[in-house]
């Protein structure tokens, strides 16, 4: 079983938690989930692989061991994978000539190096496989690619060689299908959303892997949702770039080679996947502080709902300008009308109500906070028929920006530790 916990900004949050308390910095709900499911997993010999270790895989294991000792569980082997955290090594790497420039924009790291909150290498499956080979029943990693959590057990079980590119790529494709949970089994399904049965009890996708690299996507009996060629296709095209070159640490998968076939009810065969050799780089994900945002919403009712919301927007902007506040951006959207499709949306004949949504971004905390204080008075001093402000003043939240880079594989080494309670 694989569990993915890490979005791009998650590492910075966990890094912050670890700075406050060196024992923390991992997904705390992971420990609660493992406590719930471990008895069943041990009974059925199901191994658990997760990246919920975040900024502190060892701390996560220690907490799990404390719980296990309390419960009298013995003989449980837990593997951790670390070494992905290079936050303390950035200066040293720079001295070695490794500069971590932004891989999208080409900008040098010096521009933001004083604001960096986290820096993590995306490792692949090799360290997870190593931990499994050492007998780990649970593998807790820091930053790994989402797909590695899925194809690591295939490599472990089938003994695929590290240059069997087609099979590795097949595993990557399986990983991409699973990594967003039920998005492959009927969730967020656009072709015919109303035809998906029992979304309240939707089953998560399962990849049945075979030694030759063939994979069958299915889900448990008695669960909601559905697995069809169309639900799998929608997940395959989700958040991809050049489909012929889906780059991972261990191979490049070619999504234009994938063949799909409906084998039966809720069973889709994935085959024919072609792969190419891996690059000599790991991707690095860094996060840094980049100012503040605040968001306010007010609801205006008929008559003249839109005109009143637009007037309120003008009044608020005038007030902000009078106060001399500086914002990098002020954005106004009308929820219910055009916040999603913008100018592509068509206007309805009658507007019963509209939500005015104003968002600001500033370099400093105080401007974003002051903006919040200017919104509430609009209810009493602005256009009539307005409500929806029960939540209180909008609070500034810190912008955690993302800095992608590449690092030569030989500059970092994953560290695998397997311990038994």
């Amino acid at each position: 079983m694989m569990m993915d916990f890490l979005a791009e900004v998650t590492m910075s949050i966990m890094q912050k938690q670890k700075r406050r308390n060196p024992e923390l910095g991992y997904a705390r709900d992971l420990v609660q989930i493992i406590e719930q499911i471990l008895p069943t997993c041990l009974e059925k010999n199901i191994k658990i692989i997760t990246n919920g270790g975040g900024a502190n895989p060892g701390g996560c294991r220690d907490e799990l061991f404390r719980w296990a000792r309390k419960k009298g569980i013995t003989g449980l082997k837990v593997g951790t994978v670390s070494g992905d955290d290079i936050l303390d090594r950035i200066d040293g790497l720079s001295e070695q000539g490794i500069h971590l420039d932004n891989m999208d924009t080409g900008e040098p790291l010096e521009k933001i190096s004083h604001k960096v909150l986290s820096a993590n290498v995306y490792f692949g499956a090799s360290s997870i496989v190593e931990a499994l080979r050492e007998g780990a029943q649970i593998v807790i990693t820091g930053r790994t690619t989402d797909t590695a959590l899925t194809y690591a057990p295939m490599i472990f079980e089938f003994g695929w060689s590290w240059d069997d590119w087609n099979k590795l790529a097949a595993g990557v494709v399986g990983g991409h299908i699973l990594e967003c949970g039920a998005q492959a089994s009927g969730g967020n399904f656009s072709a015919q959303w109303e035809a998906v049965p029992d979304l309240a009890h939707i089953g998560f996708p399962i990849a049945e892997a075979y030694p030759d690299g063939e994979i069958v996507i299915t889900k448990h009996e008695g669960t909601g949702g559905m697995v069809t060629v169309q639900t799998v296709k929608e997940q395959l095209v989700y958040e991809i770039g050049d489909p012929a070159n889906y780059i991972t640490p261990e191979c490049i998968a070619d999504f234009t080679s994938i063949e799909l076939e409906q084998l039966g009810n809720n069973r889709v065969k994935v085959s024919g996947v072609k792969g190419k050799p891996a690059t000599s780089f790991y991707k690095v994900s860094m996060s840094y502080r980049d100012g503040y945002t605040a968001v306010a919403t007010l609801t205006y009712a008929w008559p003249d709902a839109l005109e009143k919301a637009q007037a309120a927007d003008r009044i608020l902007r005038t007030r902000l300008s009078d106060l001399g506040l500086e914002f990098e951006e002020i954005r106004t959207e009308y929820l219910g009308l055009n916040s999603c499709h913008g100018p592509i949306a068509e206007m309805p004949e009658i507007i019963n109500e509209v939500v005015l949504r104003i968002a600001v971004r500033s370099k400093d905390h105080d401007s974003a906070e002051r903006f919040g204080k200017e919104v509430a008075p609009l209810i009493l001093t602005g256009p009539p028929g307005v409500t929806g402000f029960a939540g209180g003043r909008p609070k500034p939240s810190e912008v955690i920006a993302y800095w992608p880079a590449l690092i030569a594989k030989n500059a970092v080494t994953p560290e695998v530790v397997v311990e038994e309670v």
Partner: protein, 109 residues
């Protein structure tokens, strides 16, 4: 004949930083050549005028009857920096499905 893309395609969209991706998939094999012929990167760029600040790239996945579009600079900076309600581009897919096509061929909808 005229129709909206919604009639012949389904789609899913998401984000990578400030780049939005839209995977556009033909509902039937016979619709894929129509999609491929008419839904060009240039037409998609025009469709998203005023929303997408950068270039539009198109990739083909004939095996899935699909096209993948990358819309650069469409998410207001992306991530937590974006001030958009839809900062992750989840609804770009349906915005594309609104597109109207006017084709010479006759197809069964």
């Amino acid at each position: 004949m005229r129709f909206r893309l919604l009639a012949i395609c389904h789609a899913r969209s998401g984000d990578k930083g400030d780049v939005g991706n839209i995977g556009l998939i033909a509902r039937k094999a016979e619709y894929f050549p129509i999609m491929k012929k008419y839904v060009t990167a240039d037409l998609v760029r025009k469709h998203f005028e005023g929303i997408c600040r950068g270039k539009v790239e198109r990739f083909e996945l004939p095996n899935l009857w699909a096209l993948n579009f990358l819309l650069h600079g469409v998410l207001g900076g992306g991530g937590t920096k974006s001030l958009k309600n839809d900062s992750q581009g989840k609804t770009l897919s349906s915005a594309l499905l609104r597109m109207e096509l006017d084709i010479q061929e006759r197809i069964t909808l």
